[in-house]
């Protein structure tokens, strides 16, 4: 599910119809969720979402094994 956009409408029923028009009239959607804005709590604090310390150990880029792998393979070959 990805956020597609928003519509204005007098009520949730019409909002559902309009959501279909804007995000479904070309058969581009299988399913739409329509949620009133006041039901949404937003979190956009960069300290919470992009905290400054290194977190590379949580991502693939944190593990560069090329040289270690070459060294290990070389040693294995040497030992026969």
């Amino acid at each position: 599910m990805i956020h597609s956009g928003n519509v204005r409408a007098p009520d949730l029923e019409l909002a559902t119809h309009y959501a279909r028009e804007f995000y479904g009239r070309r058969q581009e959607s299988n399913r739409l969720w329509i949620v009133p804005r006041q039901a949404i709590t937003e979190l956009d604090d960069p300290d919470l979402l992009k905290p400054p310390f290194d977190r590379s150990f949580k991502r693939p880029g944190g593990y560069l094994i090329k040289h270690k792998l070459e060294a290990a393979k070389a040693r294995a070959q040497e030992e026969g």
């Binding site: 300290d47 919470l48 905290p51 400054p52 310390f53 290194d54 977190r55």
Partner: protein, 271 residues
Amino acid sequence: MSTGVRSSNADAARPLAHATRDALAELLLSIADDEFVIGFWDSEWTGIAPILEEDVATSSISQDEIGHARALYELLAELTGDDADRIAFGREPDAYRHAALLNHPRTDWAFSVARRYLYETADAVRLEALSRSSYEPLAGLVAKMRREERYHLMHLDAWLRRLADAGGDARARLAEALTRLWPDAMTIFTPLGGEATLVAEGLLPEPMETLRERWLTQVVPILETLSLPVPSGDERGAPLTDGGRTQRTDDFRWLHGEFTMVARSEEGAAW
């Protein structure tokens, strides 16, 4: 590699005097060890916290602490020509300088929440002061730490209030934990030997005694509003002894045995 004190001449970073450097090293070690030890105790909750979602949150907070400890050990390593992992893992238990508040094991959920609440709020006062440090590398590092610590304060405040408001058994456990912890709570502000030097040079903008009083002024009213235990007047004013950062307990010795076990199995090896 700059280890200079920020001065009004932007291009003149004079090296630290010997005594200043030693005093700063002591201060950095004390904060790093605090973050390291509490990070370890709370990492024990990984996998067994009361609620699955909370398990993930608690693990993040303890990882943050280890991350801060790492950065502080690295700063200390630069200052003294050492290695961060060696400082972290290579000392005997008596050479660790964390506050007595952190000698206690995680015990139960109420104890962990209470101890962390006391630690985070005290640390916040300490970090605020150090964000004004004349030692630029420390001020910069502390500014980053404060950004991450905001979430810790929000989260622990949320838990303190929920347990207090739940009443009954939950409130009783929280209150009992606080009562047990108060005697050690203030050890975060144990003055270090080199404090006079650090204060004179602005590396530590205010003495620990002042910071302790500021913390108590902030935290006591909050706990009183929640009808939770606070220290007596005598306890508040009692002078903090050296032992606050040098006495080690069997619980900590056990932890030390755990965290040095693998590192010691092959001396000097890479892991």
